[in-house]
């Protein structure tokens, strides 16, 4: 058993909430419970989507086929059989993302280095030395929300967002780091770029990075 709160949102969404902060343990619990939910609802054609966020799980359903009360009941049933102490960790492989840091690929690195008084090399070393948990995917197709950025290199967003950040750009915004799967307007500080294609709608699955896994940036020299 875990102790989530269940809410309705509109007439076709249920939200299961596991706490009020961004926290790796909560997110691990979210993904563990997600597996039980997906299994428990696998026979339900009334369920349109089940997906994780930082600290909650969202269920979209067809209100013509099932009511919120029935969904809530089923979630409670799944929860009563759920073993949150089950420590059998999933062995997600860590996805390695090769990144060309700085220069034309990371136009904000120099400014960050000056403002933080840390050399560019050191920022790159800190950024690429640890693994990051993918808490959720959102904002745009395939965009990973990563946790665990070293506080020494956290840096506020640009005052004015750029009109176009190139596909594959690796950026920092506050305590977050992330990768743009598509060219898009954006206010993150761009420190590098990867050549990996994060999202390809012709592939199955289309996404390279999945929620609940880990990624690691690898310095790529030309």
């Amino acid at each position: 058993m875990s102790n989530p709160k269940i809410f309705y949102h509109g007439d076709s969404t249920a939200i299961i909430k596991f706490g009020d902060k961004i926290d790796e343990d909560i997110n691990i619990l979210v993904h563990k419970f997600l597996e039980s939910l997906v299994r428990g609802f696998s026979e339900y054609s009334s369920i349109l989507d089940i997906y994780p966020t930082y600290n909650s799980i969202i269920i979209d359903y067809d209100p013509n086929k099932i009511l919120y009360e029935n969904i809530k009941e089923k979630i409670n049933l799944i929860n009563s059989e759920f073993d949150s102490s089950d420590n059998e960790k999933k062995h997600y492989k860590i996805i390695e993302i090769p990144v060309k840091y700085g220069g034309e690929f990371g136009p904000d690195l120099k400014r960050m280095s000056k403002a933080l008084n840390i050399t560019e090399k050191k920022i790159i070393q800190i950024h690429s030395s640890q693994k990051y948990r993918v808490h959720m995917i959102g904002f745009m197709p395939g965009f990973p929300y990563l946790g665990g950025l070293d506080k020494r290199i956290s840096f506020p967003r640009l005052d004015e967002p750029r009109l176009a950040v190139p596909e594959g750009s690796v950026g920092i915004a506050g305590d977050q780091t992330g990768i743009y799967p598509f060219s898009s307007p954006g206010g993150w500080n761009i420190i590098g770029r990867t050549n990996l294609k994060l999202f390809d709608s012709k592939k199955n699955p289309p996404n390279l990075i999945i929620s609940g896994s880990y990624i690691k940036f690898k310095i790529q020299n030309d």
Binding site: H9, S12, T13, L48, I58, F139, Y145, S201
Partner: protein, 345 residues
Amino acid sequence: MIKILNTATLSSFQDLGRFGKKSIGVSQSGCLDKFSFIISNFLCGNKKNEGAIEIVGGGFSCEFMEDVSIAVSGPTGIFKINNDQISINSSIKIKKYDTLYIPENKNGNIFYFSISGGFKVNNIMNSVSFHQPSSITNDLRVNIGDILHMKKPNSNFQKLINSSFFEKYIKSANDISIIYDEVTLNKFPDFINILESNQYTISAEASRQGIRLKGNDNLSHKLKDEISSGVSLGTVQLPPSGQPIILLNDSQTTGGYLKLGSIPNFEIPKLSQTKINSTIRFKGIDLSESNNFRKKIDLKFNSIKLEDYFLYNHKIKNNHISVQISENDSIISIANEQLINVFKE
């Protein structure tokens, strides 16, 4: 073959949506007015989820290079085949070299254009729905000059519907229902009172992603953004500016603004047919009221019947007048450029 001559504000392929992809950041997309979408497929004998062209705004036109039955659904009004005026929510037999034109319509924004047998178009992740904010579905946008192909063109359908469903359930009314989140009801009851006393204008910043409302700024607040969490079709967000945003089919899958609640699913067609600069007012309903409304609307929707009709065209002075008479004489629709009247026995 069909040649696209004009695409209005936005023309794109849509079906009922692309579900089960939010975990990879892809929102459901799909038709904004699902009632009209389904009607257009039924009118030309297609299955419910067959891809149709969703047309936003007036001015769409195309030329046909083959015979086929087509349907146009949406707000009450007319579309034109060459010089003939046909009431919207009808299907009609088209001949080679005929031209379809859908004019601006004072009753709504969104039309569906289906062909009997369906368009030949590629699925992207199990759906033919164009998803505006990402580049993954660019092939599903319809552009001027495009040549579209048909699967199995069928010319047997010439039908109209025996219902004023659009007038009763889709045509914009001032009141939009909202189901408040439990958190809003418990923590922000004042917001609810203020929200419901305000009148909001649909701003020009309205797209398939969402609608920005403009009104009194008495709901501006300094609450911190929430931790980004899931949002749905119909989610009503309240950014610090106090001007609410209603999310639609192509919205982001996650968002951090304060959520007040959500518009029930059956009100989305009405909301998306509401014209820019019209005003709306929120009206709170609870989940069980919403379920009752939905059942009632579904019952009406499912009782819509199709009837074959005959088309007569007359030129009186300089006016082209088209008359559609259903087979058992029960529905007569008369149309010229300005006026359309539907008489029912």
